[in-house]
Amino acid sequence: MGTEPFVGGYPAPSKTGASGVWSAKSVQLYAGGAAWPMPTVGHWTFIGDADNTSSGGANDLYGEGGIFQTAAQVSAGNNEYYVIGRWTNQAGMTGSGAGIIKGLRINGDEAPSGTIGVSKYYNWSLSNGVSFSGGGPVFVENAGIPAHYIVMAGYTGASYQYYHSRIVKLNDSEVEQASGSLRTSNGGPHGVRNPNLIMWNNELYQIAHGHQYQNGQYKKHILVTKINEVTLASTTPAAHLYHSAWGYTYYQMTGRIIVQPKTDATGNTLNVTYDGYHQTPAGGSGNNVIMVNQWTTGGSISYNHSNDYNIYNNSSSKDLYLTDTETEGDVFWISGYGIADSVVSSTRSFSAIMKRTYQASSLGDNGTWILKLQTGGYNQSTHITSIALDSSNNKLYFHGYADGIGGSTDNSTFIGRIDVTNPTWVLDWCNAYVNTGFSNYPSWGRNKLILTANDTITSYGYTQVTEGGGVNPVVAQLITVPRDGSSKDGSGSNDGQSLSSHDIKDKCLFQLVSASTNVTITDSNSGPGINMSGSQEYSNPTQGTTNFNDTDPSPVLYKTGGV
């Protein structure tokens, strides 16, 4: 045993490399001094046509829909997930189609793995393109059958009221069991949009926007119906929810709808959050507010008017937009964003996370916290687009995007964690993840940010990769990082893209709203309220035919790298 710290050559260890043959003692020595190469802390996966091998030009896969696990996948314990995305440019496709990818394993502290066994896309003959709800769940399972359902909206043109929802029922072998469409029954234009699916009271429901004529315009309301799990037709109970004052110029539900069971799929109470135009108590007109309420079902659907509240932005701009919710019994968290004067200069978007409690006759306010990137040299707009609650550890995770962070000039994803143990919340960490040369976006709403194996969290979104000749396919991305925030100040690559992670906590102002300069958020139940009518507003239209095709490339490519 000499004093040589290694066997072989003399390459100095670095964070990214330690060539040569090293003795165990030397490894111990250098690791103790933090000089030994650290393992990859953060895995970044691209899914799609990353090599541009498909015929007819690059096929793009957008990270929409979400990442899901069925009961069988959970039981298997091998970290396999469904990845639901939206394809464009597939051969034979008009517009876009719903992509289903099965077989990918998200392993947490090791790179994703697995063999892609299913790589399909859906569209249907009446539609020239499909899209997913931008907020609520689009994939649910009835484990008792077992079957799972995917819902999308399809643009069908003026002859078919522009939009229908389309539900597909699949078994665990991904064989289609049924497929069906819904439109509105009133015959007016614009049909059904933003469909959510939910198992509620052990039954399948669709909740979506419809349109109905009011006061010189076709306004949005929210339609809910139980779905027959054999035929996928609408059935009873059903209802629609609308502004009591929607006969006046403003007042309608325009934005996202997010539904979550109060407890689990067997419970009969649903926590429902949506946004739309309302007259704010502070004055003004036609501003976007977030609206919350609880529904129950059984023989009919009912609505608790006592804890129905609006949450509005009374800053320099009056709009507040919904992005996601988390729920735990009667307690729920809401993420959103608005615009206000920056503390640095001009106006910027801020993000808000609100904790509320449904009470029998009111809504409890447990705090509103504001995240702004307006310090440490930053003056960036910020949008939190999804949240994930780790209730056993009192942690709330978020992801979002902002431009000009982490040294990038493009939009990049940030991921962070908040300790919500006490009424005074603490921002534990916030890191930016940069794909040099391209924007990368975390997706919006449910099932886009999930807790994954080995104390990691995975963000779902999309970005682009360079394939030469000006071809830059859009690929879905998974960013999996440790929950302790240690994936920061690193660099790496994936499929030739330079990736990096950056600690941006010192660029964040994370404050209770009362301490957040220029931002005011208030709850109110004054003014015109919300009505629920127990009528069926869906109808079962001309169905067309469903196309269920292999993707090109088949199977879809996935490439992993890290930072």
Binding site: H190, G216, D403, P528, N531
Partner: protein, 73 residues
């Protein structure tokens, strides 16, 4: 009222009605602009927001229309 077409949050400069546009861009561009709702909107002249053009399209008259709801307080 959503993003302008040249908003940094719309870096690829997606245009209205493009089915390939990401959902947050689609939703933003498709949001009704009530400030441009024609003043003559009525049951005889109902309008529907056309997210393909960003304009209000005149529709066929509505029959048997009866206003619902209570006036704002």
């Amino acid at each position: 009222m959503g993003y302008a077409l040249d908003d940094p949050a719309n870096p690829d400069r997606w245009t209205r009605g493009d089915p390939a546009a990401p959902p947050h861009v689609q939703m933003s561009l498709e949001r009704e602009d009530l400030s441009t709702l024609p003043e003559d909107a009525s049951p005889e002249k109902p309008y529907a927001w056309n997210w393909l053009t960003g304009e209000w399209d005149l529709q066929d008259p509505v029959e048997d229309y009866e206003p619902e709801g209570e006036p704002p307080e």
